[in-house]
C-alpha cells in the first residue's frame, strides 16, 4: 500500500465496510446539495436569479477543474499541495508571455494567445513533472514533495512578477475568452464541462484511468501485474499541474491580469476538500470525478448561500467548517453499516 496515502486517512480503529448500494456509491452529497438548493431557493429568490446561477456555475467551474486533477492524484495514492501555487505561476507566466510576444508581434492575437496558453499550461506541466518524478523516482511521499514545490513555485511566480499584476494581454483574450459567453454561459463553464467529461472518460474507459485506480489501491499488486507504475504516477501529477494551470489561465482571462496572488493555500485546501468531500479516499484507489464536481458545486453554493444570507463575513468560516464536518460525518456514518475492527 502506498505508505503516505494511507497515512493521511487510515482511521485507526475503524474500517468501514459497506455494500456498494447506490448510497454507498454516491453518498449523501447529492441529497445534501439538493437540500441546500431547495432551502436557499425558498429563503431567497435572489438565489435562483440567472446571474447568481451563472456566478455559482463559473466559480464551481474553476474549482471543478482544479479538483479533478487533485482527485486523480489522490486516487493514485498521492497528494498535490502545489496546485494553488501552480495557479499563480500559470497566471503570471501566461500574462508575461503574452506581453512579451505582443511586444515583438503586435496585433498578431492568435499567435500571442497560443503562445501564452502554451507557456501557461507548460509551466503547470513542468511543476507536475517535477512532482511526479520526485514521487516516482526518489520515492518521497507526495505530501512532502508537493509541499516543497509549493513553496518553490510560489517563489518563482513572485520572482517573475515582484508581486505586481502583469498586464498587456490582448483585449481579445480577455473579451473573447475570459469574459465571453456562449448561449448565455461563460467560457469557463464549457471548459470545466469538457474537462469533466474527458476525465470521466479517462477514469472509466482508459488504461491510464484504470491504472491510476490500481496504483492507488495497491501499488505492489499493480507492479506485479506488470503495470508501469512510475509513468502513470508521473502522469497524474502532470495532469494535476496542467489542470491547475488551466484554472490559473481562466482566472487570468476573467480578471484581465496575471496575478501571483491567485490560488494560494486557499485554493489548494479547497481543491483537496472538494475531492475528499466528493468521496475520494485519501487512502487512494477510490473516487469518481463526477462526484467531485458535485462536491465542488456544493462548496461553491455554500459560500454563495452564506453571502446571500448576509451572514457576518467573520462568522462565515465557522458555518463553513461545521457544515463541512457534518456533511462528511453523515456520509461516513451512512456508509458504516458494519463495524469491523
Amino acid at each position: 500500500m502506498n505508505a503516505q496515502a494511507s497515512s493521511l486517512t487510515a482511521q485507526p480503529g475503524v474500517t468501514a465496510s459497506y455494500g456498494r448500494s447506490l448510497l454507498g456509491r454516491i453518498g449523501f452529497l447529492p441529497a445534501l446539495l439538493i437540500l441546500v438548493i431547495v432551502g436557499m431557493s425558498a429563503v431567497d429568490p435572489q438565489f435562483y436569479g440567472p446571474i447568481n446561477i451563472l456566478n455559482i456555475l463559473r466559480n464551481a467551474a474553476f474549482l471543478t477543474i482544479i479538483a479533478c486533477g487533485q482527485a486523480l492524484v489522490i486516487i493514485g495514492g498521492g497528494f498535490d499541495l502545489s496546485v494553488g501555487a501552480v495557479v499563480a505561476l500559470a497566471s503570471v507566466v501566461t500574462a508575461k508571455t503574452m506581453g512579451v510576444i505582443a511586444a515583438s508581434f503586435p496585433g498578431n492575437d492568435a499567435l500571442i494567445i497560443a503562445g501564452g496558453l502554451a507557456a501557461g499550461l507548460g509551466s503547470g506541466a513542468a511543476v507536475g513533472l517535477v512532482n511526479g518524478l520526485c514521487v516516482a523516482r526518489l520515492k518521497v511521499s507526495g505530501f512532502v514533495v508537493t509541499l516543497g514545490t509549493m513553496s518553490a513555485t510560489a517563489g518563482v511566480a513572485l520572482m517573475i512578477t515582484s508581486g505586481i499584476p502583469v498586464y498587456g494581454m490582448p483585449q481579445s483574450f480577455v473579451r473573447d475568452f475570459g469574459r465571453a459567453q456562449f448561449f448565455g454561459l461563460p467560457t469557463a463553464i464549457y471548459v470545466a464541462l469538457i474537462v469533466l467529461l474527458v476525465m470521466v472518460f479517462v477514469q472509466r474507459r482508459t488504461l491510464f484511468g484504470r491504472y491510476v485506480y490500481a496504483i492507488g489501491g495497491n501499488t505492489d499488486a499493480a507492479i506485479v501485474s506488470g503495470v508501469g507504475t512510475r509513468r502513470h504516477l508521473v502522469g497524474t501529477y502532470v495532469l494535476s499541474g496542467v489542470l491547475a494551470a488551466l484554472t490559473g489561465i481562466l482566472l487570468t482571462a476573467q480578471v484581465g491580469s496575471g496575478q501571483a496572488s491567485f490560488g494560494g493555500d486557499r485554493m489548494m485546501l479547497q481543491s483537496i476538500a472538494a475531492a475528499v468531500i466528493g468521496g475520494v479516499s485519501l487512502r487512494g484507489g477510490v473516487g469518481r470525478v463526477e462526484i467531485v464536481a458535485v462536491s465542488a458545486l456544493f462548496l461553491t453554493i455554500l459560500g454563495n448561500a452564506l453571502n446571500l444570507l448576509h451572514i457576518d463575513s467573520r462568522l462565515q468560516p465557522v458555518f463553513l467548517g461545521i457544515i463541512m464536518v457534518v456533511a462528511v460525518a453523515l456520509d461516513e456514518l451512512g456508509r458504516r453499516r458494519k463495524l469491523r475492527v
Binding site: 456498494r20 472509466r204 488504461l207 490500481a214 499493480a222 507492479i223 506488470g226 484507489g285
Partner: protein
C-alpha cells in the same frame, strides 16, 4: 535424481524452466544462495521449506518481480535476462502470490485483466473483457461474481480471484504460493481438479504449501530449501513425510499432531441465540468448557470466524446472550474481554495482529499494558517488561531470540509465536484461535499445537477455528460444524470424522436448496 512415472514426452524435452545458481540478497539477508531448480512441462514441482527458507523469494524471481543478483534463467530452452513482470506474463509464467496481488478497490474483472487489459489506443474494451472474464470463471467453476469489488469478497473468494487472474491468457508455468491457506475443502477440491487438468495440458506447476497432505496428493517432485539454500530435489513417490520434514528442518519430527488429554470441567463461555448485525452468524447456541479444545469447522463464509470475533468484541451483536463462566457478558469489547480472561488470536497476523515495525517486546506486551506487572500509574516498567517477555519468548523458542528486533523481521511461524507470547503475559481463561496454523511451517505448527496442549492441561478453555479439517479434527474434543451462519452439527468422540463433517455440509446444503 532419478525420474520415473513421468509422461515420456516430458522426460525427453528440455525442462520448461531451468534456474542455475540463483542468488538474491536483501539488505543484510541472503534470501537465496545459489539455488538450482528445474520444472518440466506437465509436472507439479513442490517447493518445501520452513518459514523464511526463501520459497516466496524464489517465486518472485521466477515471476520477474525481483531481479536475481546472480544466476542463469532459462525458459523453454531460451536464456532470459532482465525479466519484468510484464515479460514473464507474456511468455506464459503466471504467479499466484502468497500476499494477494489484488487491488481491493477494483472489481474482480478489473483485477483479472490488470496489466493485460484489452484496449485499442489506450481505450478499454469493457465488453470484450467482460465476456472473457465470464468465460474463464465459468470454465474454472468458481462461484465468483466478476462485477464485485474485491474488498467485498471473503478471503477465500479473493484467493479464487487470484487464481483466476493467473489463469487468464496463455499459461505455460503456473506458480501457486500457498493457494489453499485460505480455501476450505470444497474449493481446495476444485483447485485440485483444475491442477490435474492443467497438468494434462502440459502446463508446468510450482506449488508451495506447508500442508503435507497436499504435497502427498499433488507432487511429482519436491525441492527442499533451507536458509535460502537448495538442499535436495526428490521424487515425491519415493520419499516419506518424515524424511521431507527432516530435510526441511534438519531435525526429526515424528508426529504432526500431539495427543491432547482433554479433561473438560465447567463451561467457560456460552452463547445463546447469538445473532450478528451483518447476519453472518444467526441464532447460534454454542459453549466451550475449560480443559478441552472446542473446534469450529465450516465452509468459506459460514461465519465461524465471525462467531469468535463477536465473542471477543470485534463484531457488533444484535441479538442473543453471552456468558463467561456463567456471568452475563453483553456488549463485549476487546479490552473488557481481556480483563475477563478472554484472548483472541487473529487469522491475519499482519493486518490485525502485529505492529510490524515495532520491536517484538512491544508486540508481545501490547495486550498486557493495563497490568501492574507492566505499568504502574501509566508509567512503563521496562525492565520488568523485558524480563517477562524475554521469558515468554524463551518458552516459545522464538528464533532468533532477540526480542528487540522489529516483528516484521520474523518469519511467519515466529510471528505467530509473538502472538502466542501475549497469552503468557497475563492470566487468561479462554483462548480463541482463528486459523492458528495458517501459513506456518510444520515445525512451527507443532510448537503451536504443543502450546495449546499446555493451555488445556493448565485448565484453560481453548477454541480453535480452522479451515484445515485434519487440524480441527485432531485437536478438538468437541467439534461444531457451521453452515450459513448457523450451527449444523456438533460432533464428539468417534463421530468426529472427516466423513461426518463433510456429510453435514452436504446435508445442510441439500436442506437449504430444498427450502
Amino acid at each position: 535424481m532419478d525420474i520415473s512415472a513421468r509422461p515420456p514426452q516430458a522426460a525427453a524435452a528440455p525442462p520448461l524452466l531451468e534456474l542455475k545458481g540463483i542468488s538474491k540478497r536483501f539488505t543484510g539477508v541472503r534470501a537465496l544462495d545459489h539455488v538450482d531448480l528445474d520444472v518440466r512441462a506437465g509436472e507439479l514441482h513442490v517447493l518445501f521449506g520452513e518459514n523464511g527458507a526463501g520459497k516466496s523469494t524464489l517465486i518472485n524471481v521466477i515471476a520477474g518481480t525481483f531481479p536475481p543478483d546472480e544466476g542463469s534463467f532459462h525458459f523453454d530452452g531460451e536464456e532470459i535476462r532482465h525479466l519484468s513482470p510484464q515479460r514473464a506474463r507474456a511468455i506464459g509464467i503466471s504467479p499466484v502470490f502468497q500476499e494477494f496481488s489484488l487491488v481491493p478497490s477494483l472489481t474482480v474483472e478489473e483485477n483479472l485483466f490488470l496489466g493485460r487489459e484489452v484496449s485499442t489506443g489506450g481505450v478499454l474494451r469493457a465488453g470484450a473483457m467482460r465476456k472473457k472474464a465470464r468465460a474463464l470463471i465459468d470454465e474454472l467453476g468458481f462461484d465468483l461474481d466478476p462485477g464485485r469489488r474485491v474488498d467485498d469478497l471473503s478471503r477465500a473468494h479473493q484467493q479464487m480471484a487470484e487464481i483466476a487472474k493467473a489463469l487468464l491468457g496463455k499459461v505455460r508455468l503456473l506458480i501457486l504460493d500457498e493457494p489453499t491457506a485460505s480455501l476450505t475443502e470444497r474449493e481446495t477440491g476444485r483447485l485440485f481438479e483444475l491442477i490435474a487438468k492443467l497438468k494434462a495440458q502440459g502446463v508446468g506447476l510450482i506449488y508451495v504449501s506447508h500442508r503435507m497432505r497436499e504435497i502427498r496428493a499433488l507432487a511429482d517432485r519436491v525441492t527442499v530449501l533451507r536458509d535460502g539454500r537448495h538442499i535436495r530435489t526428490l521424487d515425491a513417490a519415493r520419499v516419506t513425510d518424515g524424511e521431507l520434514v527432516e530435510l526441511m528442518t534438519g531435525r526429526r519430527i515424528d508426529v504432526l499432531f500431539p495427543t491432547i488429554p482433554h479433561a473438560p470441567t465447567e463451561v467457560a463461555v456460552d452463547v445463546e441465540d447469538l445473532t450478528l448485525a451483518d447476519g453472518s452468524v444467526q441464532e447460534v447456541n454454542f459453549y466451550a468448557r475449560s480443559g478441552e479444545i472446542t473446534g469450529i469447522a465450516g465452509l468459506v463464509g459460514c461465519g465461524k470466524s465471525e462467531l469468535v470475533r463477536a465473542i471477543y468484541g470485534l463484531e457488533p451483536i444484535v441479538g442473543g446472550t453471552m456468558r463467561i463462566e456463567g456471568t452475563p457478558y453483553d456488549a463485549p469489547s476487546p479490552r473488557e474481554s481481556l480483563t475477563h480472561g478472554v484472548a483472541y488470536f487473529p487469522a491475519n497476523r499482519v493486518a490485525e495482529g502485529l505492529a510490524l515495525s515495532r520491536p517484538i517486546r512491544e508486540n508481545a506486551s501490547m495486550t498486557a499494558l493495563d497490568l501492574p506487572a507492566f505499568a504502574r500509574f501509566g508509567l512503563l516498567r521496562q525492565g520488568a517488561e523485558r524480563g517477562l517477555v524475554g521469558r515468554a519468548m524463551e518458552r516459545l523458542k522464538l528464533r532468533p531470540p532477540n526480542i528487540e528486533r522489529p516483528a516484521g523481521a520474523l518469519s511467519g511461524g515466529n510471528r505467530q509465536k509473538v502472538m502466542l507470547g501475549r497469552a503468557l503475559t497475563r492470566e487468561l481463561k479462554v483462548f480463541l484461535f482463528d486459523e492458528p496454523s495458517v501459513g506456518i511451517d510444520v515445525g512451527a505448527k507443532l510448537e503451536v499445537y504443543e502450546f495449546m496442549k499446555q493451555l488445556v492441561e493448565a485448565g484453560a478453555a481453548v477454541i480453535v477455528v480452522s479451515s484445515e479439517l485434519p487440524e480441527v479434527l485432531a485437536l478438538s474434543n468437541r467439534l461444531y460444524v457451521m453452515h450459513h451462519g448457523r450451527i449444523a452439527t456438533e460432533l464428539t468422540g468417534d463421530d468426529k470424522t472427516e466423513q461426518n463433517v463433510l456429510a453435514s455440509f452436504f446435508k445442510e446444503h441439500l436442506a437449504t436448496e430444498a427450502a
